[in-house]
């Protein structure tokens, strides 16, 4: 059919263009966060992230010059760089808030009493006068500069390794990892055995059990919160990692059983029946034949469960708690949104740290994820 459409080239162009627009619209938000995480707080607050990709002209607030005074040819001179560590080019500057663009780069400003000030295009200033500046308030410079794209890794250093400013994202990262890995691995075996029984063993009540699993698949976990928290308190687990792992295991099981059963039912009947005839027990058939053959389904579920436990907020808040020690990444982000809603450099970087691992998993194992989705959506 595509050949027929191919003849109508205007339609083909329309399709390409629509897909480009669609993809752009879907990627744009994430790119915004990504770019922002490499900008300084001042940059984020003063201009949109999309302008960070090209050379930008902006007005700087007043900077009071400072530096050590040297005596040269009978004049007292203070030299320095107005914008340390960043390469900008000055297009206009001034020394009073009323005339912020009074001079061009390289112009000499007369400050009275024989004092002069020069600001070069690169931002180097030279202040000179016949008398010492000691004890005097040095002049302020207002500048209009254009700066090339300028990115920094400082935010990541700050967020991941500093203990003060970024409020423990590094620690939360470990917490999230601690929650999600056991919570991914433990349900797999439990579910696999059950799925085998539901797929290949014949016993009364099997259809009923499969229907029950499908029913539990959609039970909102909201209902489980209070009763399980009570239960955990009663049996002495309380709030903690163990309770969180158990909760994730319980909530993940219906999908795991459902996915794996659907897959196992599709395995070739001959292999399993031949093995039975040869005298293999169900346990042997499961371990030696079904489990290895089910690897794609196991991988699908593992990816689902990992993404779900990594990205989860509710279960972690309820079963792990909101203490600073045990807060997971998503919980930390919610707190940051409240307390540092304006500090986009910390927020953007933290958010990107939290979504980096799921994105890596997603892009490297997309095939299994798609396969799982196709098998898992209730038909």
């Amino acid at each position: 059919m595509s050949e027929v459409v191919g003849k109508k080239s205007s339609l083909v162009w329309a399709v390409h263009l629509s897909v480009v627009l669609l993809v752009a619209a879907w990627v744009f938000p994430t790119v915004g966060l990504f770019v922002s995480s490499f900008r300084t707080g001042d940059q984020i607050a003063s201009s949109g992230w999309w302008s960070a990709l090209s050379t930008q002209e902006r007005q700087n607030p007043a900077i009071r010059i400072s530096g050590d005074e040297v005596e040269r040819d009978g004049m007292f001179v203070i030299e320095g760089d107005l914008f340390e560590n960043s390469s900008v080019s000055v297009s206009a500057w001034g020394t009073s808030s009323r005339e912020t663009e009074a001079y061009g780069p390289g112009d000499v400003a007369d400050l009275g009493d024989g004092e002069t000030l020069v600001l070069s295009e690169e931002g180097r200033f030279v202040l000179s006068g016949p008398e010492s500046f000691e004890g005097e308030r040095l002049p302020r410079i207002f500048s209009t500069v254009s700066s090339p794209p300028d990115f920094t890794l400082e935010n990541y250093r700050n967020v991941l390794f500093s203990s003060t400013a970024a409020a423990g994202i590094g620690k939360s990262f470990i917490n999230t990892l601690t929650v999600s890995i056991p919570a991914t691995i433990i349900p797999i075996l439990i579910a696999a055995f059950a799925a085998y029984a539901l797929a290949w063993m014949d016993f009364p009540g099997r259809a009923l059990l499969i229907a029950a699993v499908v029913g539990l698949l959609v039970v909102p976990l909201q209902l489980a919160l209070i009763p399980l928290l009570q239960l955990h308190n009663d049996i002495g687990i309380g709030k903690g990692y163990l309770g969180t792992w158990l909760a994730h295991t319980g909530f993940g099981l219906p999908l795991a059983i459902y996915l794996l059963r659907n897959y196992m039912v599709g395995l070739p009947k001959d292999i399993i029946e031949n093995a039975r005839v040869d005298g293999a027990t169900d346990f042997q058939i499961f371990v030696k034949i079904v489990l290895p053959l089910s690897f794609p389904a196991l991988a699908s579920f593992a990816i689902f469960q990992f993404l779900w436990t990594w990205n989860d907020l509710l279960v972690a808040l309820v079963f792990l708690g909101t203490d600073d020690d045990t807060l997971v990444l998503t919980g930390r982000l919610v707190n940051l949104l409240g307390s540092r809603g304006g500090q986009w450099e910390i927020l953007a970087t933290s958010a990107f740290v939290s979504i980096a691992i799921p994105l890596i998993v997603f892009f490297s194992m997309q095939r299994y994820l798609v396969r799982g989705l196709l098998a898992g959506s209730v038909k």
């Binding site: 917490n175 539901l198 909201q222 099981l253 998993v361």
Partner: protein, 332 residues
């Protein structure tokens, strides 16, 4: 003990325990209880095979019962009792208390808005994306990009979209895209998330953005499963591409569209993180799941919280029954 170490030990214990349980319980069944030898050999083998499925199922059934089935009953009970009165039965008092709260009705109204809009938009965009990307060579890359938000947590997505909705005072450069465009078109900067009732739609956009990829993946597989002959016949009969799409393809994948729609509906009913992170239910954006969380864990009113949870359950129930019905039909 460090939690990470604890985690490793739990993995070993959990996996080892599972393997051990399955291995030894099978061994005991075959060697001790119903040994496959002696005069009762035939009977014993049959009996062992009757018991074995339940050995395989037991851990899963136990966990499902304890972590999903029991809580449904327990929550129902909690919603009918008063925690402050030592758990005394109070009938529907919690429900009527909840219905006296305007916040509950606001949450219910918003949930219905979400239910109407998010599944519809996600499915529509997903279908569009599936149909368009199936026809072009770089379609799989395009699909990955639209699918990507699926991997991002609701909280992460909230941060991403909060940057888009950000507001700076008038006169400054806007750092949020929405305001930047708005100001460029001649408007004044708006604090979008406080504008009732449009803020609700801005929150929905986040979920639509996440769920479209899911809809696209499923629908794209369904589109590819359509028999070529039907499409070819339509072409020969002179149908244009739009007719082929709406009259030939869409009717054939209607079943899948319903599945996608209901799956997204389930996500919408439980939506919590997005509202919590972006507005926390202020400015009339409350939804049921966040209302429930508020009641349970901020005001510690378990009765009303459980009542709200039961309302969510009630809304899920039709889908639950429908799914179970379908699976039973399939198994017969």
């Amino acid at each position: 003990m460090h939690p990470a170490l604890q985690g490793i030990i739990t993995i070993i214990l959990g996996v080892g325990g599972c393997v051990g349980y399955f291995y030894f319980s099978n061994q005991i069944l075959d060697k001790v209880i119903f040994p496959a030898r002696g005069e009762n050999m035939g009977r014993n083998i049959n009996r062992a095979n009757m018991v074995r499925p339940w050995l395989f199922l037991f851990p899963a059934l136990f966990a499902l019962g304890l972590y999903l089935a029991y809580p449904v009953v327990a929550t129902l009970w909690l919603s009918l009792t008063d925690r402050d009165a030592g758990g005394a039965f109070v009938g529907f008092a919690n429900y009527s208390a909840m219905m006296d709260e305007p916040k509950f009705w606001e949450a219910l109204r918003n949930n219905f808005l979400w239910l109407l809009i998010v599944p519809a938009m996600s499915t529509a965009f997903g279908l569009l994306a599936a149909q368009l990307t199936d026809r072009i060579r770089w379609g799989s890359i395009a699909k990955s990009m639209v699918f990507m938000p699926m991997a991002i947590s609701f909280v992460g997505a909230s941060v991403i979209w909060k940057l888009i909705y950000d507001t700076r005072p008038e006169g400054q450069d806007q750092i949020g895209v929405l305001n930047a465009i708005w100001v460029w078109m001649g408007g004044e900067p708006q604090t979008w998330l406080t504008i009732i009732p449009w803020n609700n739609f801005l929150l929905m956009v986040v979920l639509i953005w996440i769920q479209t990829g899911f809809a696209m993946v499923i629908l794209s597989a369904a589109l590819r499963g359509i028999p070529e002959e039907t499409v070819e016949a339509a072409i020969i009969d002179g149908a244009n591409p739009f007719q082929i799409f709406f009259k030939i393809k869409v009717p054939q994948i209607m079943g899948t569209i319903v599945v996608v729609w209901t799956t997204i509906t389930l996500v919408v009913l439980k939506v919590f993180d997005i509202v919590l992170a972006m507005t926390n239910g202020q400015w009339e954006t409350q939804v049921l799941a966040n209302y429930m969380y508020d009641k349970m864990f901020r005001s510690f009113d378990w009765g009303v919280g459980s009542a709200a949870a039961m309302v969510i359950m009630l809304l899920v129930l039709p889908i639950l029954i429908w799914n179970v019905h379908n699976v039973r039909k399939e198994l017969k």
